[in-house]
C-alpha cells in the first residue's frame, strides 16, 4: 500500500512536470515569433536611398548548362548580409522573368535570410573565408523545377553570385524555411557544404574533368 503522502508528492511532481513542459513549449513559440518578427525587420529589398552599384550575377542557362556573368546596376546596402540577400533576390527575379534561360517560378521573399559565419576552414587556409548560410523559402524550393541540371544550376549560380559580390564567401550551405532539407527539388543535395570554387569552374559544355569539384562532406 502506498502511503498517502507519497501519492500527494507524485501528483504534485506530475502537475509541475506538465506545467513546465507547457511553459517550455510556450517559450519556444515565443522565441519563434520573435525570430519571425526580427526577420520582418530585415531589409527585404535594397534601400532606394543607397547608391546604385554594379553587381555581378552568375546567370544559369539550361540549354548549355553554363553560368554566364551578367553585370547589373542596383542599389546595394552596406551590410554584407543584406547585400548578399539583395543580389540573390535580383538573381532569382531574373529567373522568374518571362523568357528566362533558367526559368524558376518566382515567389515573394524567396531568400529569407543570408547569414555570414566564419568558414569551418582547414588549417591549410585553403578554405579560409566566410560561410554563407542561405535560408530559402519553402514555396521557392517546392515550386522549383525538378531535375539534376536545373537544381544544380540554381545552387551553383547562387554560390557563384555570392562569391562574385562578396569574395570573402568561400563556402555556402542551404536551409529551407530555417531547417535542413535533403534536396532542393528531389535531386541536388542540400545537406552538404558547397565551395564557391565549384561555381567558378562550372561549365556545362566542357569536359566533366574541367568542371568544378571540391566537395566538403
Amino acid at each position: 500500500m502506498i502511503p498517502r503522502y507519497q501519492k500527494i508528492v507524485f501528483f504534485v511532481l506530475l502537475i509541475v512536470s506538465i506545467g513546465m513542459a507547457a511553459y517550455l513549449v510556450r517559450l519556444r513559440e515565443r522565441a519563434h515569433e520573435r525570430l519571425l518578427r526580427g526577420e520582418d525587420l530585415a531589409p527585404t529589398t535594397a534601400p532606394a536611398v543607397a547608391p546604385a552599384e554594379k553587381a555581378t550575377l552568375m546567370v544559369a542557362n539550361d540549354m548549355d548548362g553554363s553560368l554566364v556573368t551578367e553585370e547589373q546596376s542596383l542599389p546595394l546596402p552596406k551590410d554584407a548580409e543584406a547585400r548578399a540577400r539583395a543580389v540573390l533576390e535580383k538573381l532569382l527575379d531574373i529567373y522568374a522573368s518571362p523568357g528566362a534561360l533558367h526559368p524558376v517560378p518566382g515567389v515573394p521573399r524567396a531568400v529569407q535570410q543570408v547569414f555570414l559565419l566564419p568558414a569551418s576552414g582547414k588549417e591549410t587556409g585553403q578554405y579560409r573565408g566566410q560561410l554563407a548560410v542561405v535560408n530559402l523559402a519553402g514555396p521557392f524550393a517546392d515550386g522549383h523545377p525538378a531535375g539534376i541540371e536545373a537544381e544544380t544550376l540554381t545552387v551553383l549560380s547562387i554560390c557563384g553570385t555570392l562569391h562574385a559580390n562578396l569574395p570573402q564567401i568561400t563556402e555556402v550551405r542551404f536551409l529551407v524555411d530555417g531547417a535542413e532539407r535533403k534536396t532542393l527539388a528531389g535531386h541536388a543535395d542540400l545537406t552538404r557544404t558547397y565551395l564557391t570554387t565549384e561555381a567558378e569552374s562550372s561549365s556545362g559544355t566542357s569536359a566533366p574533368d574541367n568542371a568544378g569539384s571540391g566537395v566538403k562532406p
Binding site: P145, I148, A188, D189, S202, P208, A211, G212, V215
Partner: protein, 274 residues
C-alpha cells in the same frame, strides 16, 4: 499499488519496443560497417537482380552493371509531359536497358523493378554489394535539352581500404569520368544509325545515392530535345527517343567493357580497382 501497476505497464511497453519488428523486406540486407545507421534498412522491397545471377553473389568473370531507376513509389520525381512522372520514364528506360545489356552478356543488377520507393543509401548499398564495372543512375527532366551526363562533384581521392560512406565515389572518380566520356561518345554517335542527333551535356553534380557508390558511376538525365528557340521537338516520353538513348547506353557499356578487358590484358589489374 497503482503506482506499481503503472511501473509494470511501462516496463511491458519498453519490452515491446525492444522486440524485433516484423520484417516487411523479403531478403535481409547486409549493412556495411562504414554505413550510417539510418541507412541500415531499405525502405521498400529488396533489390532485384537479373541476368541470371543473384544480387549478392554475382557469378565471377561476368561484367556486372548496376542500373538505378531514380525515384519510385511516393517519390514521383519530376512531372514530365502529359502528366507522366519521372519515376515511370526511368523505370521504362531501366527495363529496356536491362534487356539490351543482358543480351550482350552483362549481368545486370537493378535497384528497383517496380513502382517502389528506394532510399538513396539503399540504392548505393545495392551497387556496393556487387563488383560492378559500371553504375548508371537514370533520371528524366523537362529542363534543358537532350541527354545530361553527370559525374559526382566530389574531389578525386586515392583509394583506401575503408571508404567513407558519403564520399565513397571519390575513390572511383577517375574511372567515372572515363565512363562519362565513353557514354558521351556513344550518344554523339547514336545518330549514325539514322536517328536524329541527341544534344549531350557533360557536367558534375552532387547526388546522395551516386556519391556513395563504390563503382564507376554516372547519372544520365533524359530531357526533351529542343531546337535553337527552345521549342520542344522530341518529348522525353517519345518511345523512339528512349530506345535510341537505351541503345547508345548499351553501346557505351559495351565499349567500356572492351576498355576494361584491354586494361586487364595489359596487366592493369582487376577491373574492380578504382
Amino acid at each position: 499499488m497503482w503506482l506499481l501497476a503503472a511501473t509494470r505497464i511501462l516496463a511491458g511497453t519498453l519490452a515491446l519496443a525492444q522486440a524485433p519488428a516484423p520484417q516487411s523486406v523479403s531478403r535481409p540486407t547486409r549493412v556495411s560497417s562504414t554505413q550510417p545507421n539510418q541507412a541500415q534498412t531499405p525502405t521498400s522491397q529488396a533489390p532485384t537482380a537479373t541476368g541470371q545471377i543473384p544480387a549478392a553473389a554475382p557469378r565471377p568473370n561476368r561484367f556486372v552493371v548496376v542500373l538505378d531507376a531514380a525515384h519510385g513509389g511516393d517519390d514521383s520525381g519530376a512531372q514530365l509531359d502529359n502528366a507522366v512522372a519521372e519515376k515511370t520514364v526511368t523505370l521504362a528506360l531501366s527495363v529496356q536497358l536491362r534487356s539490351l545489356l543482358a543480351a550482350r552478356g552483362f549481368a545486370v543488377v537493378t535497384t528497383r523493378e517496380s513502382n517502389v520507393d528506394v532510399a538513396p543509401d539503399a540504392r548505393a548499398q545495392v551497387a556496393n554489394h556487387v563488383p560492378a564495372v559500371a553504375c548508371v543512375s537514370l533520371h528524366a527532366s523537362m529542363t534543358g535539352s537532350g541527354v545530361h551526363i553527370f559525374v559526382s562533384s566530389l574531389p578525386a581521392t586515392v583509394p583506401t581500404r575503408f571508404l567513407a560512406w558519403k564520399t565513397a565515389q571519390s575513390a572511383y572518380l577517375t574511372r567515372s569520368l572515363k565512363l562519362a566520356s565513353t557514354v558521351n561518345s556513344a550518344l554523339e554517335h547514336s545518330s549514325d544509325s539514322g536517328s536524329g542527333a541527341v544534344p549531350v551535356l557533360l557536367a558534375r553534380t552532387s547526388l546522395a545515392g551516386v556519391d556513395s557508390m563504390a563503382c564507376p558511376a554516372v547519372a544520365v538525365e533524359l530531357a526533351p530535345i529542343r531546337d535553337t528557340d527552345r521549342t520542344i521537338t522530341t518529348q522525353v516520353t517519345d518511345s523512339g527517343y528512349q530506345a535510341q538513348v537505351a541503345q547508345a547506353l548499351a553501346a557505351a557499356l559495351l565499349a567500356w567493357r572492351t576498355e576494361l578487358q584491354a586494361e586487364s590484358l595489359g596487366g592493369a589489374g582487376t577491373v574492380r580497382q578504382p
